[in-house]
Structures are given as C-alpha cells and as structure tokens.
Amino acid sequence: MGDKVLMKGTEAIGEAAIRADCQCFFGYPITPQTEVAAYMAKKMPELGRVFVQAESEVAAINMVYGAAGTGVRCMTSSSSPGISLKAEGISYIAGAELPCLIVNIVRGGPGLGSIQPAQSDYFQATKGGGHGDYNMPVFAPSSIQEMVDLIQEAFDVADAYRTPCMLMGDGMLGQMMEPVEFHETARRELPKKDWAADGLRGRAHHNVINSLYLNPEELEQHNLHLQEKYQQIKKNEARYEIYNCEGEVDIILAAYGTTSRVCKNVIKMAAEEGIRVGLVRPITLWPFPNEAFEKTVEHTKYGYLAVEMSAGQMIEDVRLVVNGRKPVGFHGRMGGMVPNPEDILAKVRELALEGVK
C-alpha cells in the first residue's frame, strides 16, 4: 500500500488494527489511550465492524473473551489501572486459549498514579499479572511505525498460538505524532479456528470455551500443554534490536520503548567524548530476548546499564541472562518522568571510568 501519513500513536494503533482485520473493539476510556477508542468508534461502524464502549474495563475484556471465542479478530485497549482491572479476564483468556490483542499504553503508578508515560507495568505484563501460571507475548515498540508493524504481527502470533498478545507502549508513544507507512507485510500461515464456538452450524459436536478443570490431573495436563506452548513461543518469537555493539564497546545500554530512543541519543553524545556505547533493545518483553544478551555479553568491557522508566523491573531479566558474567547497572526514573540523555550519559561516564558497581 505504502501511503505515508502523519499520525498520533493512539490513532495509528486503531488504523493498524483495522488493517489487520480486527472485527471488534471493546474499550473503556482512560488517559493516555482514549483516542484509540475514539478512533475505533468513528471508523469501525463505517466498515460494518463492531465498536462497543463497555461499562468498565472488566466488561470490555470479557466482551473480548466472548468475541474471541467465536473466532473473529478482536481487541481492547487501556492504560495501567485499566489493565489491572482486565487482569481477571486476561487470565481466563489465557486459560481458555483465545487469541486477541490487548493494548496497554502505560502511565505512572501504583494506584491512580499519573497520566504521564512510564514502564512500571513490566512485571505485570511479563510475569503473569492475573492469577495462575500463564504468560502472553508482549510487544514493545519504540516508534509509531514499529507500533503499526507489530500490531499485525501481534494478531498473527495470537492466532498462531491461540494466546492473548499485548502491545505495550507508554504515554509518550501514545501521544506523539510521527510519519507512518502502512505496509502489506508477508503473513504467516495461520491455523484454522475449528475450536471456535459460534453456533454448531452443522458441526456434530459442541465447542466449549472454558478454563475450568475440576479434576487436578486434567488441570495439570492443561498447564503442561500451556507451558509447552510457551516454550515454543520463547523459541520462535523473541525479537530484539542490537545497535552499535560491533567490536568491543565500553558499555551496552539495555532499554525498550521510549527509553531506548533516549538511549540512542546518549550513544551519539558519548561517542563525541570517545566513549563507545551500544544498545540492546528488547522488542518482545516476553519472551525476553536472551539471545541478544548472549550475542553481546563478550563485547562489553564494563557491562550493561539498564535504563527504565521504573524502579528497575526489566533489569531482573537482564541480570538473569547475564548471570554474573558482566556487571549490570541501573538508571531509572519513575512517576511519569522520562530519563534525560544528560543523566544517562553522566551515569555512562561514571561507569566507564569506575566500572559498573
């Protein structure tokens, strides 16, 4: 298609989802992602598709559960406190193995927090969030273009593995405007949805969408099946960007989303001072791209510096994979503050001189 337009992040999410054949949107307003719902409210009816403003985030995610169970592509969108409310439904969707897209445009927390950008939902997104042993693929774009491209991919991954997928941005990515191009991308072959429950329509047996297993042996088997699926996702779907890490570098920054963009500026600024800095940028937060760290761990002289808009959440995954082979430092801001390049550079300078503590 290739039409380049200037779009706000939240509206680009809506347009990308429509182009990915999303048939139903169920949502509830919450800053800073309300424009996703507004965009869908305008566009979906024009296309004969479904938009429902639910009475709550809880209802919205359960509407997704209902629609996803019929086999149509569907989604919801929210921001941090709203995602907490959706956690119940996400657990059920994971348990019932339904494909759908959940957008989280993260704001500061805990509690009502702020409406400014943050990355403090990392644990919630990647370590379950709802109850029970489950995971879901979490895509973390760093530009509006990437956000658009990953929405198609997230829907495909959801269908391929029968899993909810999350697109996790932050308030900055949601609210900024950038030029975007909508491509026709190569699509993977997707399995038939013969499990869908939308009426027998001639089928001999009834389909049931369910996550209840009263027999513990059956539930364990179901859990083992889910874990096997998660292993496949870990093996096949981890995504990352390695930037400026060729040869030996002094420090490698580890950052995703908006923070990784700030880090790219830091790399330029550091180069002017003769400090060689690289970046590992996870694009999927779950599965965590361990490979990107394996590939770079021998290249960094003083180790890694995790930069996050949180108290330090992703750093735990970085430390797990680095496993003591190199030091891992941390620089973070909270409460809706975006780390500024000067502060990160000061930290880099300090580490390059003194070594990562």
Partner: protein, 248 residues
C-alpha cells in the same frame, strides 16, 4: 410403541450433578425444549455462570462458554456483536447476576443487547455452601446470616426483575417459578417468548425463575417447594414486569 417423551436435542446425554430436589434440571430442560421448538439449536450459543450451574456447558448440546463470575452478560455481548445471527443466552444464578455481576447485567440490559438471560433465583449461594445472597429474604438464616438476614446490617434483597424492567433497553422481563406443573408450563412459555424477542431483534430479554435449594435451605424437596411458595413468592411476585409487545 409410539414414542411419547424424549430428551430434547438441546441437552447432552450427561447426568447432571445437581442436588436432589434442585430445580436447575427442570430449567435446563425448558431452555433445551424452547431451543428445539424454535429450531435454533444450530446457531445457539449459551454462557454458563460461576455457581451451581458452572457445569451447564456440559449439559447443553449447543456451543457453550464458561464465563468468569458475574461476567456472562459481557461475554454474551461479545459473542452476539461478533455473530449477530447467533441466538445467545446466559444462564445465571443470583450470586453471579445480582452481586458480583450487577454492573454487567444492568448495562447489557440498558444497551438493549439482543441476548436472553435466564436468571435462577434460589435466595441463597448454593455452590459455596449456603451463604447469604443478594436475594436472601429478610430474616432468612444462612451461613453468613446465622441470626437471620438483618436488613439494618445487610440491607434488603434486590428485586432484579423489577429493577431491570425500568431500563429502556429491556424488551421483555418476566418472573416465573418452577414449583408446580402449572408454573413450569408458564415458565416455559416465558422462556420461549424471551428467545422469540431476541430472535425478532427487540432487545434484551430476561426470565427470572424462582428455584429451590433443598440442601442449603435444610429442607426436603417437597418442603422446599412449600418454602418457595410461602416465602419467596410474596417477596418476589410472579408475572410480567415488562413487555414491549409489538413495539420496536
């Protein structure tokens, strides 16, 4: 010999787990008969609740969903919006619908979702072992109202049908009972009408069914029917609460 009575096609050949004297089995059968008679089994989708009827998805032979506690009307909304030609019903108890799921039922009704809810009211939480429900009667002794429901402390029962009937999106709301043959026949007629209204696209329809819980009421099945008549019917009067009839 001519066959005079058989299991409706809408039910599977699975024995139910319900307690002796519980009327869930009758209500299941009525829904299945209605689905058969309306010829919509092939496109009917049911949503089971959390509570005693949590396994209803095993008993109905149409496509089924198991919803989270109270969320059945939201799940049904998703199904119906995604597949508007499907006939969608929720089957919900009083804890599910009148406590944790109050928001979902009120808003599904007020949106005029073209779904049908069968609301089974037995004035108690059955599955968890007889605790006070939003529908437990003033003075009723339950596990969590051991001195009798004190309205000063625990508030009053919710008359769900009367409440839902005030909402513009509701097309048909009736309260029935399955305590006698006559009332079972009336209940079936109401359930059929509720499904017909949905199929005609008239909006949200609901049938509240007064039901027994001999186990948790601590009564024999026949005593339970008497208790229902003597105590529930005066508080929850039977009859049509709303019917938009031929209106659009």
């Amino acid at each position: 010999m001519a066959l005079t009575f058989e299991k409706p096609k809408g039910l599977t050949d699975v024995p139910t787990h319900y307690c002796p004297g519980c009327t869930h089995g009758i209500i299941h059968r009525l829904i299945a008969e209605v689905v058969d008679e309306l010829g919509v089994l092939d496109k009917t989708v049911g949503v089971a609740p959390v509570g005693c009827s949590v396994l209803a998805y095993d008993y109905f032979s149409c496509d089924m969903y198991e919803a989270a506690h109270g969320r059945a009307p939201a799940v049904a909304t998703g199904i119906k919006r995604a597949k508007p030609d499907a006939t969608v019903f929720t089957y919900q108890g009083d804890g599910d619908l009148a406590a944790i799921g109050t928001a979902e039922i009120v808003h599904a009704a007020t949106r005029g979702e073209k779904i049908t809810t069968v609301f089974v009211n037995n004035a108690i939480y059955g599955m968890t072992g007889g605790q006070m429900a939003p529908t437990s009667l003033p003075g009723q002794v339950t596990e969590t109202s051991p001195y009798g429901r004190n309205t000063g402390l625990a508030g009053y029962p919710i008359r769900v049908s009367e409440m839902i009937s005030t909402l513009d999106g509701a097309s048909y709301v009736e309260r029935v009972s399955v305590d006698s043959v006559k009332n079972v026949m009336r209940a079936k007629k109401a359930i059929k009408k509720a499904f017909e209204y949905q199929i005609a696209g008239k909006g949200f329809s609901m049938v509240e069914v007064l039901s027994t819980c001999p186990t948790n009421w601590g009564l024999s099945p026949t005593e339970a029917l008497t208790w229902l008549r003597d105590n529930m019917m005066p508080y929850y009067p039977l009859g049509v609460k709303k019917d938009i009839g031929e209106e659009d």
